[in-house]
Symmetry: C2
Amino acid sequence: MNVSALEEYGLRCAVQLASLAEGETLSAPEIAEREGLSIEYVSKFMLLLKRASLVRTVRGMKGGFALTRLPEEISLKDVFDALSNKRKAQDEFCKSFAGKSETCVRSSACTIRPFWEILSLYVEEFTTKMTLRDLIQSEQVTLNKTRNIAQANVEQYRKLKEMNA
Amino acid sequence: MNVSALEEYGLRCAVQLASLAEGETLSAPEIAEREGLSIEYVSKFMLLLKRASLVRTVRGMKGGFALTRLPEEISLKDVFDALSNKRKAQDEFCKSFAGKSETCVRSSACTIRPFWEILSLYVEEFTTKMTLRDLIQSEQVTLNKTRNIAQANVEQYRKLKEMNA
DNA sequence: TTAAAACAATACTTTTTTGTACGGATTTGG
DNA sequence: CCAAATCCGTACAAAAAAGTATTGTTTTAA
C-alpha cells in the first residue's frame, strides 16, 4: 500500500501554490527549485492539475501557475484524482483482474472485497476531509490535529471490536 | 494510493489457507486453480509468505502449504509486510527522494510529512486489527463490521473537526 | 528404482511507471 | 520585430513491477 510518485510530487507542487497571495503565480522553474525536482517533471504534474481544473496558468514570459480555488476548497482527494493515471471505479474492482480466468473467479465469493471497500473508504474519507489549507499550517499544528484524529479513531475501533466480540 | 499486485494476490492466497482444517495443506496448483492465477505466480507469493514464517510447507508429492498460526493470529499487516518488496521505515521517509538535491529540500519544513504519517497510521491501524479470520466470515458479516468501523471513524472525525474549528 | 507431483529458487520477458528531452506556441519587453 | 522566458504536449529512455520459464530438490508410490 503506497502512494505513487506522481501523487506525491504532484501534491507537493500543489501545496507550493497554496500559499500564494491572490493574483500571484509561481512558475515551473520556481516550483522545481523549491522542491528540488526537474523543471520538465514539474511541468508534467502541472499539466495534469490544469486538466483537472485545479490549476490555472498564465503563459508567456511572466507566466506561471495558481490554484483555481482557495486552498481550503481543494481536497487532497481532488489532487490525487487529478494525478492518478486511471481511476478504478469501485464497481470495476473485480474486472481489472490479471489472472487466467475470463471471469473473475472471486465474483461469487470475493473474500477480500469487503476489506478493500472499507480500506478505500477509510482512505477516501481522510483525503476528502484534508485540504491543501491543512497542509500549509505549521507542521506542529498539522501533526497535532492529525494525531488526534488517529487516536480517536483507534479508540473508537477498539470499543466497536469489544462490542462485537 | 493503491495496493500492489503482490499484496493483493498474496493476500488472496493467504486467505485460501485460512479456511483449512488442522493438519491440512493446499498445493500451489490448487490455490492457482481457485484464484485463477498461474502456478508459478502463486509459488512466488508462497515463497515470500514462507520466508516471513507465516506459512509452512510440505515438500514432495503430497505437499502443500499451511498457515503457521491460526487465522485470527495473522493480521493483514503481517501479510502485507511479508509481500511488500521493501518496507520504508517511517524515519526513512524523506531519504528516499527522487529529486535532484543531495539533501531532501523538504527536511526543514516538509509540508506533507504530517499527512503521510497520519495516513500511514490510519492504514496501519486498520490492517493490524483485521485478521485473516475476519476475511473468511461471510461477505455480509464482514461488510457490516467494516462499514460500522468506517462510519464510527467518520463521525468521530467530524466531531473533532468541529471542536478544532 | 523410477516416475510423477510438488516445493525452491533464480533468471528472464513483458508491461507499467518514472523521469527526461525536445520542438512548438504564447507573452513580455527592448 | 525579435529575443527571452514560459507554458504545452508528445515522444522517448530508464527503472521498477508484474508475470513467466526453467532447472533443481524432495517426497510419494508403484
